[in-house]
């Protein structure tokens, strides 16, 4: 079976991200998964055990200061060389900012089609995408070149399949044009140890109804009790209640968790666009006519400042 390249998405703090395990699971149905680690010196070693656990038969490691020190372009150059050499059956990247950007450059370098935000990929290369804020399901295909796709987090149930990956070090040779955008600093703002928003199985979001930044502690408390991530509506972000990187919606993150808890969120289209493919949705809002209730599997109409603390207490009691 031919190789399927999976470009590894990982963070310094938490290692291999869940979407990578989803991609490895998906890749096993298409061929033999090979993980591609593009990072600074020593990047692959910390990740290889986890990658093997989910079926990576091979790990291509491109490790260099140049990859880490410049934005995206060096990664695309290394990946393009690898694709030309191994002629994989497909290339999978994460549908997050950087994954899409690497894929974009790869598509131009190889004059190859690209599909983003896929939630499924069949062996014949037919991809499933969800378009227009979850309202339309699309079947699509790359018609020029190999299937080059970015996979939306929380699309596939990651299942382990142990393998012992052989590690191959790649020679990194990048051009001056790849070194035009220099990363001079990386600043962490993520607080605590909550799961990353787009990957979380449970997301608890607050909206304008939360009232102020301080009250977001209530949202965080429920999130922590459920082991979920915290999100915010655009109204809450624009009002300065919570930072922008946690914004869920049309102009923010798209999430598709098992459980979405909407607190004080009316459910404007802007917000629904980012969360309506969630499996189960529950909502608390004081306005019984709020559109969020049209989506909610369970809704409570009332004062969230009474309902949410009571719910927190009840969860604690049951633990």
């Amino acid at each position: 079976m031919s190789e399927v390249l999976v470009v590894v998405e990982a963070t310094r703090e938490f290692g291999v991200k869940k979407v990578t395990l989803e991609m490895l699971t998906l890749a096993r149905e298409l061929g033999t998964p090979s993980a591609v680690v593009l990072g600074g010196p020593g990047a692959a070693e910390a990740l290889s055990a986890k990658l093997g656990e989910y079926g990576a038969e091979k790990i291509y490691a491109a490790e260099s200061e140049e990859i880490d020190g410049y934005l995206v372009a060096p990664k695309a150059t290394v990946l393009a060389e690898l694709v030309k050499r191994v002629q994989p059956a497909a290339v999978l990247l994460a549908s997050a900012q950087e994954g899409k950007e690497i894929a974009a450059r790869l598509a131009v370098k190889l004059d190859n089609g690209i599909l983003t935000d896929i939630v499924g990929l069949a062996a014949d290369g037919t991809a499933t995408q969800v378009a227009f804020a979850g309202s339309t399901i699309v079947k699509s295909k790359v018609t020029k070149g190999l299937p080059l796709v970015t996979v939306r987090p929380n699309s596939v149930n990651p299942t382990p399949a142990a393998a012992t990956p052989a590690v191959e070090q790649l020679t990194v040779s990048v051009t001056d044009t790849d070194k035009l955008a220099k990363v001079v600093d990386r600043v962490a703002e993520q607080k605590g140890s909550r799961p990353e928003l787009t990957e979380a199985g449970i997301v608890v979001s607050g909206g304008r109804g939360v009232g102020n930044a301080d009250n977001f502690k209530l949202v965080e408390e429920i999130a922590d009790l459920l082991g979920g991530a915290v999100g915010a509506s655009r109204a809450a972000v624009d009002s300065g209640y919570y930072p922008h990187q946690f914004q869920v919606g049309q102009t923010g993150k798209t999430v598709s968790p098992q459980l979405y808890v909407a607190l004080g969120i009316s459910g404007a289209i802007q917000h629904r666009a980012g969360m309506q493919t969630s499996k189960t949705i529950v909502a608390v809002n004081k306005d019984g006519e709020a559109p969020i209730f049209e989506l909610a599997d369970f809704g409570v109409v009332g004062d969230l400042f009474k309902i949410v603390p009571q719910a927190a207490e009840e969860i604690r009691k049951r633990k």
């Binding site: 372009a73 004059d111 690209i114 035009l180 600043v187 928003l197 922008h244 990187q245 409570v300």
Partner: protein
């Protein structure tokens, strides 16, 4: 500084949006078409840079005839002129072909700085800035929540999952912006009147030296095979809190095994 802002006309994301049943492309004919929201932030950023450092701001749009409305709207915010790439052969172009056309147009405009929105609300594909930068061989500073210009040096704060990265490059460069970067101005009455007289140059594929076979549905590198409307979600139980709302909520979560 010679700044070009990429502006895309998209179907209003607040209304029902569809793909066409005949050729599976985005239905723009029956939609209420507007400027892609994120592009308004790109225009604002360009105008601020012009106000601080001098220069000229040009709007560049690829799209059908009706995109003229969005171009005038963009000009009413304050840019000096616009270039509209319009050609029947472009209908159904994929992202790869679109980047080829835009890069060809940018090649003629000699921009020091290209600014665009981080993504459009219709496709949300987020690939255009890097595709264009790759073709032009210039830097791409993408996902900016802050942009500083110091002579020919650009510095952005790039929003990431964990926080942000500080990235620098020299012009020429492509910068894409998120909606946190500024607050776009509303067009003034004077701006709206002035926009009607601002020059809008149209360019065809022939003007750009791009063959019709490289673009459109026939030249596309990917294809939509079929599409279906997802059934709308139907709301489930809705209760009014009478003192036990929090407990009831957790009981529901427990039956679904989340607690």
């Amino acid at each position: 500084m010679n700044i070009v802002v990429l502006v895309k006309q998209v179907p209003d994301s607040g209304a029902d949006r569809n793909l066409r049943s005949d050729d599976n492309t985005v239905d723009r004919g029956s939609a209420n078409n507007v400027i892609n929201e994120m592009d308004e932030y790109a225009i604002e950023e360009a105008l601020k840079i012009k106000e601080a450092h001098g220069g000229e701001v040009t709007v560049l749009t690829m799209g059908p005839d009706r995109a003229t409305e969005s171009i005038r709207k963009a000009l009413s915010m304050g840019p000096d002129k616009a270039v509209h790439v319009v050609d029947d052969a472009l209908h159904g172009s994929c992202a790869v072909a679109t980047s080829k056309v835009l890069a060809a147009a940018l090649g003629q405009l000699n921009a020091d700085l290209v600014i665009c929105g981080a993504e459009s609300t219709d496709g949300r594909v987020q690939v255009m800035p890097h595709m264009i930068a790759e073709r032009l061989g210039v830097a791409a500073l993408t996902g900016a929540r802050k942009l500083t210009v110091d002579g020919s040096t650009l510095t952005v704060e790039r929003q990431t999952e964990e926080g942000y990265e500080v990235v620098t490059a020299s012009t020429p460069a492509v910068v894409s912006v998120w909606d946190t970067i500024n607050e776009p101005r509303y067009p003034s009455f004077k701006g709206i009147m002035a926009a009607k007289k601002k020059p809008v140059q149209t360019l065809s594929l022939g003007d750009l030296g791009v063959a019709p076979t490289e673009v459109g549905l026939d030249g596309a590198t990917s294809a939509v095979l079929e599409h279906t409307k997802r059934p709308p979600r139907s709301g489930g139980a809705k209760i009014t809190d009478e003192g036990e709302g929090g407990v009831k909520l957790v009981e529901f979560l427990a039956t679904e095994k989340f607690v």
